[in-house]
């Protein structure tokens, strides 16, 4: 079991003829993702180097391939429209990898998506989503993950993260401890985005295969505080968290547009306190996320501190 995507998910790539889109389409195919085509306006009728059909519009791609997920690499000025196009074509899982979409464009996208409840957006500015061994939609390295059925410890976790490489770090720490992953979702580093911690915590909570959940947050906003309240009231599975940015000075943008502390809101301390108050184990160090999860799951943890 998993959330959102699995071995049956049919995926297209919007921006398939760009360098990033082409490269990652190939990577996803090699991982085993059921890639069924791509979209680049003006290049409909052609095929990509892997033999995948290219369409002019997402609607056309959906009609002809039955795609239900999309991976978006469209450049920032056109990315918001690409998301709306996918939702309008009935794509259920929209994964926007593009970094640098204007904030007001995303505000409009989210207003637009409110009227399309059958579509969910992951990202933008994110590594994507992966159900290990079944479906990889995004730029994460596939081999660091452990499919749920191959987990020697028999334990499987779901991962929700605002950061890319830090997610890989957490995945790697789980995999080296024989903890499998049901699904890993990078929700992205932007202030205005699609799915957030709460929606995904709800999905992982319902997913029977998921034994525990890792939440990776960072400074900025108050989403982690909201997630903490949600976990306290709704989630019965072990939840482990890590918050990046304890040493970040206030008011400076730390790479991610969302990672800025302003007006006393969004500090790492406030988030860690809220998470701990909700009974969530917060890893002190980015190097002990896997170990903290292993302890929370009650399995013999090899201590590599």
């Amino acid at each position: 079991m998993s959330i959102l995507v699995n071995k049956n998910t049919k995926v297209i790539c919007q921006g398939i003829t760009g360098s990033a889109g082409a490269f990652h389409t190939k990577q996803c195919l090699e991982y085993g993702t059921k890639m069924v085509g791509g979209v680049t306006p003006g290049k409909g009728g052609q095929t990509d180097p892997n033999g995948l059909p290219i369409f002019d519009t997402v609607a056309q791609a959906v009609r002809q391939t039955g795609a239900d997920a999309t991976m978006i690499f469209v450049p920032p000025p056109y990315a918001a429209e690409a998301i709306m196009e996918a939702a309008d074509a009935g794509i259920a899982t929209i994964v926007a990898i593009t970094e640098g979409i204007p904030v007001l464009d995303m505000v409009k996208v989210n207003a637009f998506l409110k009227d399309r409840p059958n579509s969910v957006l992951i990202g933008p500015n994110c590594p994507g989503i992966i159900t290990p061994g079944e479906c990889k939609i995004g730029i994460m390295p596939g081999y660091i993950h452990t499919p749920a059925r191959k987990a020697k410890s028999k334990k499987k976790v779901g991962i929700i993260s605002r950061s890319g490489t830090l997610t890989y770090e957490a995945v790697w720490q789980c995999s080296t401890r024989d903890i499998g992953q049901t699904t890993c979702v990078g929700i992205g580093g932007d202030p205005i985005k699609g799915l957030n911690f709460i929606e995904l915590l709800g999905m992982f909570n319902k997913d029977r295969a998921t034994d525990g959940i890792i939440v990776i947050g960072e400074i900025g906003g108050s989403d982690e505080e909201a997630a903490a309240r949600y976990v306290q009231e709704n989630v019965k599975k072990p939840v482990v968290a890590f918050i990046a940015g304890r040493t970040a000075p206030p008011g400076r943008r730390m790479g991610h547009a969302g990672a800025i502390i302003s007006g006393g809101e969004g500090s790492a301390e406030s988030k860690i306190a809220a998470l701990r108050q909700a009974g969530i184990a917060v890893a002190e160090s980015p190097a002990t996320i896997g170990q903290t999860m292993a302890q929370a799951l009650g399995i013999a943890a090899e201590v590599a501190a």
Binding site: Y168, G189, A257, A304
Partner: protein, 389 residues
């Protein structure tokens, strides 16, 4: 992106927001002339800097005669301004504004920003103006109004009128205040602002509404559609290393510690700073080289880190995904050859092609003696902290 107050005033004024007269000056003589032009009445001289705290730093001065205007301008144009926001090195001042004094009856606050939890634009207003809105929000949250509005439908007049009335405006003044809010919303949306603030908005003793001080920040991601705004950027207000890094497409922020960091990914970069602190030292910078790091990018990154004389050691932390570890290791060696590693450089690599990467680093060990390999993140942090102790 930030702009100066005089530029923000200009944008507001072009959009129908009442701004009191002022002269932008760049020399002492121009300041004196501006004072004379306003008929010898009391004026305020304000330094144009991005950083806050200029009042306390002596860079906002009331002047009553030409001599005082000259003196204030002379001081501001020949001193760097330091405040709690600038660090000890301060920022240079090259532009001032001279504005006639205004007889203030009452001060208000008006602001607009993106409310992340509501996922839309929000108008913020308060009858407590002229002070930091964060302070008002802390002490008396009931005095801060927050009105979210739809990004496509925009702020509606009825919403603005209601805010004006809640702020205590009456009659014709309420209509004027509402119109001003509508215009501020127009500015916010049409320029892709991330923050637009009028603080204070004042009512003068003769009943006029005026925006006295203005601040607008813009969404960096949207600058591609606002070349006129991008052209307003004043590099002198940013730290030189930050500017240099931006040109090399590196995400760099200088900090005060002794351990330089070179990391791929913003979240991992922040965590690397955190783990350095956890093991008892302080990071000298935040640096995210991004996913597609090249040898040239890595070399420039090392040059930037090493040009900070506080740096006594460097921690390289790369989790190779799409960026392959062996390519990064080669870039590191090339950077070492070109830049010369004068301080210990602890390298932690994990991910795609890591075995090959470790071989490359091992082979370069003799050539680059200060290169210290680490097995994992904790090991790396301990080693670099020990190396600078």
């Amino acid at each position: 992106m930030k702009i100066h107050e005089y530029q923000a005033r200009q944008i507001l004024s072009e959009n129908g927001i009442p701004i009191p007269p002022a002269q932008v000056v760049r020399t002492v003589d121009e300041a004196a002339a501006a004072f004379g032009q306003f008929g010898g009445q009391m004026c305020v001289v304000k330094a144009q800097v991005y950083a806050g705290g200029r009042g306390k730093a002596g860079f906002v001065k009331l002047v009553h005669n030409e001599a005082e205007a000259r003196e204030a301008a002379q001081f501001m144009l020949t001193h760097r301004m330091t405040s709690y926001q600038t660090g000890p090195e301060g920022v240079p001042v090259s532009v001032l504004i001279v504005a006639p004094g205004v007889q203030i009856a009452k001060e208000y606050y008006l602001g607009m920003t993106i409310d992340r939890s509501r996922q839309t634009i929000t108008l913020i207003a308060s009858s407590e103006g002229g002070v930091e809105i964060e302070e008002v929000a802390k002490k008396s949250p009931e005095k801060v109004l927050k009105i979210p509005f739809h990004p496509l439908i925009g702020l509606q007049s009825y919403q603005a009128r209601d805010v004006a009335i809640q702020l205590g405006f009456e009659g014709k003044q309420a209509n004027e205040a509402a119109k001003l809010m509508m215009n501020l919303a127009k500015v916010f949306i049409s320029t892709d602002a991330s923050l637009a603030e009028i603080n204070p908005l004042v009512v003068t003793t003769d009943g006029k509404l005026l925006a006295i001080d203005a601040k607008i920040n813009f969404d960096d991601n949207a600058l591609f559609r606002h070349p006129n705004i991008e052209a307003m950027a004043d590099e002198s207000q940013e730290r030189p290393l930050d500017v240099r890094a931006k040109k090399a497409n590196l995400n760099y922020i200088a900090l005060d510690g002794s351990i330089g960091c070179l990391v791929n990914g913003a979240g991992l970069a922040m965590s690397t700073m955190d783990i350095i602190k956890l093991h008892g030292a302080e990071p000298a910078n935040f640096l995210d080289v991004g996913g597609g790091v090249t040898a040239e990018g890595a070399i420039e990154a090392f040059k930037i880190i090493l040009s900070d004389t506080k740096v006594k050691g460097i921690l390289v932390n790369i989790f190779g995904g799409i960026a392959k570890c062996d390519l990064i290791a080669e870039a590191l060696v090339k950077a070492g050859r070109e830049v010369g590693f004068k301080v210990p450089v602890v390298v932690r690599l994990e991910g795609t092609n890591v075995t090959r990467a470790r071989e490359i680093l091992k082979a370069a060990q003799g050539e680059l003696p200060t290169l210290i390999p680490a097995t994992d993140l904790t090991d790396a942090a301990k080693k670099v902290v020990a190396a600078v102790a």
